[in-house]
Amino acid sequence: MYEDKFIENFKSQFIDGDTIAVDASTDFRQIESWDSLTGMAVLVMIKDEYGIDMSDTDLKKCKTVGDIIDYVSAKSN
């Protein structure tokens, strides 16, 4: 449930969020519409929805959407 909700929030940061397929194993940098500004929007979403300050450097260490979810869950606990 938590994971599904996160993926929805994550997808809505993309300009074509309605049409892309994303799951926890997705290597998000391979999504065609991904770029650095989408990354910034994801960080803004994480702060708004989960109250967590994730830095650009932390995001750089993540490869899949699951990696971001793990980061956010670890910080939420």
């Binding site: 300009i15 519409s33 650095s36 500004l37 910034m40 929007a41 803004v44």
Partner: protein, 339 residues
């Protein structure tokens, strides 16, 4: 205190056009579709080699006089907002007084602000009118950022377009006239972010330097003689500070977000605007986007969007409109106006 009204707006776009096809041809890694989807921009207008802020300001102002709503003899103050003035000195507004054949017993000056400039200009105009120093102000915004953009700098080239807008602000409004009363302002400044959007060379500190062109790991080109923008830092500032500023502006006017009929923000790029809209929880139908055919024209985006909102009948009598500009400085401002 006398009230101040935005009476009418005209704007000018230079003839030459830079469209997505041309950009994509020069930078094949960016498709035409991707540029349009990400920025919301299809084309930008670029000032001619021998065309400068004063020339564009004259064209916009002459359109305003040609509309026959205001006579040049009635103008008792001219203010120009620009960061690309013709000269270090004199102030460009003095040239405008002469070229527009305005009266000589009037005030004229420039002020230097970018994307927040229209809001600050309205603030100055309201102050001059409220204190009886002026009654009919010609307020012009004009930028030729294209002259600051390195030809290999694909990001800035894609976003910015040149334009000038002329706005007539007056102490009088006649019955039934389409004019907006200027209400209360909120301002915000953070000079710590000055380096995020900057043309480093060409001022007095680094006057003659010719800098080398650098390329970062993502292939983005920069050169201190030209415009530099840290897109991520600007995005962060905008995403967090602008929603707060909008809330402050609404509160200052003793209103709520729901009571605003239309939001017209500085048209930076569509992706950024949508982020602000979502964070501020503004419904899409109350949020104006107008940058498709002119791009980010710096201090002219708000008057251009406002002009079209009126002409397209998106604004009705009694409507409250929130205007907000933000960017280089870092500087931001917001105001509520009512038609």
């Amino acid at each position: 205190m006398k009230k101040a009204y935005i009476k009418s707006i005209q704007y000018y776009l230079p003839e030459a056009v830079l469209d997505n096809e041309v950009i994509s041809k020069a930078h094949p890694e960016w498709s035409i579709e991707k540029i349009a989807a990400k920025t919301g921009i299809y084309k930008r207008h670029i000032a001619a080699e021998d065309e400068f802020s004063s020339d564009m300001a004259v064209k916009a102002a002459e359109k305003l006089f040609a509309s026959e709503q205001v006579n040049r003899e009635d103008i008792d103050f001219v203010i120009l907002c620009t960061q690309s003035p013709d000269y270090f000195l004199p102030t460009t507004a003095c040239l405008l007084q002469d070229r527009l054949q305005l009266r000589k017993n009037i005030g004229a000056f420039d002020f230097n602000l970018g994307c927040s400039g229209f809001i600050y200009g309205l603030g100055i105009c309201k102050g001059l009118i409220a204190t009886g120093q002026a009654s009919n102000i010609l307020f012009i915004t004009a930028e030729t950022y294209s002259k600051f953009i390195h030809q290999e700098d694909k990001s800035n080239k894609t976003l910015f377009g040149d334009a000038a807008a002329a706005t007539w602000i007056s102490a009088d409004k006649s019955e039934g006239e389409v004019a907006a009363e200027i209400f209360d302002f909120s301002y915000s400044t953070d000079g710590n972010g000055a380096g995020y959007l900057m043309v480093k060379n060409g001022g007095v500190r680094n006057r003659y330097s010719q800098s080398e062109t650098k390329e970062d790991e993502n292939g983005y080109v920069s050169n201190d003689d030209y415009l530099f923008m840290d897109g991520k830092a600007i995005f962060n500032f905008t995403a967090f500070q602008v929603p707060q500023l909008i809330k402050d502006t609404v509160a200052k006017n003793e209103l709520t977000i729901d009571e605003i009929d239309l939001f017209i923000l500085h048209q930076a790029n569509e992706f950024m605007l949508q982020t602000i809209r979502k964070r501020t929880r503004i419904p899409e139908d109350k949020f104006l986007i107008h940058l498709r055919d002119c791009g980010n024209t710096v201090s002219s985006t708000i008057p251009i969007a406002l002009y079209h909102a009126i002409n397209d009948h998106k604004i009705k009598a009694g409507n409250k409109v929130l205007l907000s500009g933000f960017g280089v400085g870092l500087s931001a401002g917001g105001v509520v106006i009512q038609y």
